[in-house]
């Protein structure tokens, strides 16, 4: 059987499919279950310094070809998340702590705590498109990104992953600024909005949200492709992965591992074990022995 495990920044994942940040990863019991049911690893909900309740529902709008969301980064604050990390880690698989903050100092504090909680790595949310003062507002300022990543790399021992936004003029410029990170995570959601014409109102209570799911796959593929062309660094591909073909497309574009978010809604939690089996059969049929062999193949 081909080997579908991957090693990114010295963390070994039994399969390349991680649960993406913000999807069923706020409650430790849920993370533990998803890992036990077959995810190769999990990224937690993005956690900040202070407790936030997030936006009033509607926080999601299911669309034909994707999902629009503006959950508003609800989270119990880093201290309140200690127990959830503990429960999550009981699965014995890698758990990556996602964090958001507006400056380097705050990021350091959060990441130190994640490190103490036993997170295998931290993922910096430099990309959430719908919360003022955080996410892509931070992640679109190259100087700030550089300061954050560089100071984290000198303060934190566990690997640092930078999750970038596609909602920027030049993603390469931002990736350069985050150049010291241990891996890139591409992409977060694409800014979007939906109006209900009968109610004559935006559906999301926050009005603007982020588009995810199948509709944004081409956007993610292009981001992974461009970053792979320009940097020699691991990439987590995320955005619209629903089946083995999507996964292989990301790998051939340059991703060394993958994250799945919206498809957990459209295909259920079972997607992790299903897609892992499918990937192994695909590799067997095509004669690939490892994911590394497939990685970036479309660039040749």
């Amino acid at each position: 059987m081909p080997d579908i495990s991957v090693r990114i920044a010295d963390i070994k994942f039994q399969n390349p499919f991680l649960l993406a940040s913000g999807i069923l990863d706020e409650n430790g019991y849920t993370i533990r279950r998803i890992l036990n049911e077959g995810a190769g690893g999990a990224v937690t909900k993005s956690i900040g310094a202070e407790e936030r309740t997030g936006y009033i529902p509607p926080v999601v709008v299911p669309l034909d070809d994707g999902l629009l969301n503006a959950v508003g980064l609800p989270n119990p604050g880093i201290d309140g998340f200690a127990n959830e990390m503990k429960i999550s880690l009981e699965a014995g698989k890698p758990v990556i702590g996602s964090v958001f903050a507006s400056n380097a100092d705050e990021f350091i504090k959060l990441c130190r705590k994640m490190e103490n909680y036993g997170a295998h790595a931290v993922e910096l949310n430099l990309s959430c498109p719908h919360v003022k003062g955080f996410g892509s507002e931070v992640g679109s300022d190259p100087d700030l990104v550089e300061e954050i990543v560089n100071s984290l790399k000198s303060e934190i021992k566990i690997p640092v992953f930078a999750k970038l936004s596609p909602n920027v003029t030049d993603i390469i410029r931002i990736a350069e600024a985050a150049g010291k990170c241990d891996a890139f995570v591409l992409i977060n959601t694409v800014r979007g909005m939906a109006i209900d014409i009968a109610a004559r109102k935006p559906v999301l209570s926050n009005r603007v949200g982020g588009l995810s799911g199948h509709a944004v796959k081409p956007v993610g593929i292009r981001a992974v492709w461009d970053v792979f062309e320009n940097f020699d660094k691991p990439i987590f591909g995320v955005g619209g992965i629903e089946n083995v073909q999507d996964a292989v497309e990301y790998i051939m574009a340059g991703a060394g591992a993958l994250q799945i978010g919206t498809a957990v809604y459209s295909h259920g939690r079972g997607i992790f074990s299903k897609i892992s089996t499918e990937l192994a059969s695909y590799m067997e049929k095509e004669g690939f022995n490892s994911i590394e062999e497939m990685r970036g193949l479309a660039h040749r």
Binding site: N27, D196, K201, T262
Partner: protein
């Protein structure tokens, strides 16, 4: 978002109303809708009335439910769904145990041979009084203003659960937890409709999870043998922010 015109609004208790609307979709007992009050909020609401004329029964708690309770005939009701795993309709005698608006989701499984234990704070909060298809209705109120003073478990002690093939239960979590701990020792089947905060309704936000299961998708209906897996049931829950607190 779907929308339907409100056909009729009927009082279901002093404060709760049943909002009727026409929707041809097949919806099964125990499923729910995410109902939107534009500009206000969106909340999960069970179907109390099925068939071509559908009905939801809402009690005004906060902003969104209160806004829905203000709807009038001809207004539009906005919603998405149906969502969630329905009840299965077991044959044999049914024991129906509803607390507060929890009775709404059970209303459509009541048949002629059912016994309904309906509970509320006080008599004027009891839903659907005198409107059940069955003759056996045991009322329970916290303040004793109608029926038995106390909680549903007190009513259970007055009957023999093993005369029933199945119990359908919905209500506040601590009420369900005590009912569960009582009834698990009997032979009848159990179908619990669990209730937690639900922000998305589609299994993506984690706000409704219990022991790793999403109530909005794996539930809200859970069967007897599944309930032990819901390790948080009756023990701890998370707030809107995801902060965990103990229920004990």
């Amino acid at each position: 978002m779907k929308h339907s015109e409100v056909a009729e609004v009927v009082q279901a208790s002093r404060s709760a109303v049943t909002i009727f609307f026409i929707d041809d979709t097949e919806i099964l007992p125990g499923q729910f809708l995410m109902v939107w009050a534009p500009g206000v909020g969106e909340i999960p609401i069970s179907l109390s009335h099925l068939g071509k004329m559908k009905g939801i029964t809402v009690k005004p708690y906060g902003k969104t439910s209160s806004s829905l309770c203000g709807l009038e005939e001809g207004d539009l009701l906005y919603y998405r769904g149906p969502y969630g795993r329905p009840f299965t309709l077991d044959s044999g005698r049914r024991l129906i145990i509803g607390g507060g608006t929890g009775l709404a989701s059970l209303y459509s499984v009541i048949n002629g041979e059912s016994t309904v234990i309906s509970s509320a704070r006080s008599s004027d909060e009891l839903l659907f009084r005198g409107k059940f298809k069955c003759r056996n209705n045991i009322e329970v109120t916290d303040d004793g203003s109608a029926g038995i003073r106390g909680f549903p478990v007190d009513a259970l002690k007055t009957i023999d659960p093993d005369l029933y093939s199945v119990a359908y239960v919905c209500g506040p979590e601590m009420m369900m937890y005590s009912v569960y701990n009582y009834l698990r020792n009997f032979n009848l089947n159990l179908q619990f409709s669990m209730e937690r905060m639900m922000k998305c309704g589609i299994g993506i936000c984690d706000s409704c999870s219990m022991g790793g299961y999403q109530l909005c998708r794996d539930g809200p209906t859970f069967f007897k043998d599944e309930i032990p897996e819901l390790v948080e049931f009756g023990k701890s829950r998370t707030t809107e922010s995801g902060r965990r607190y103990s229920m004990k």
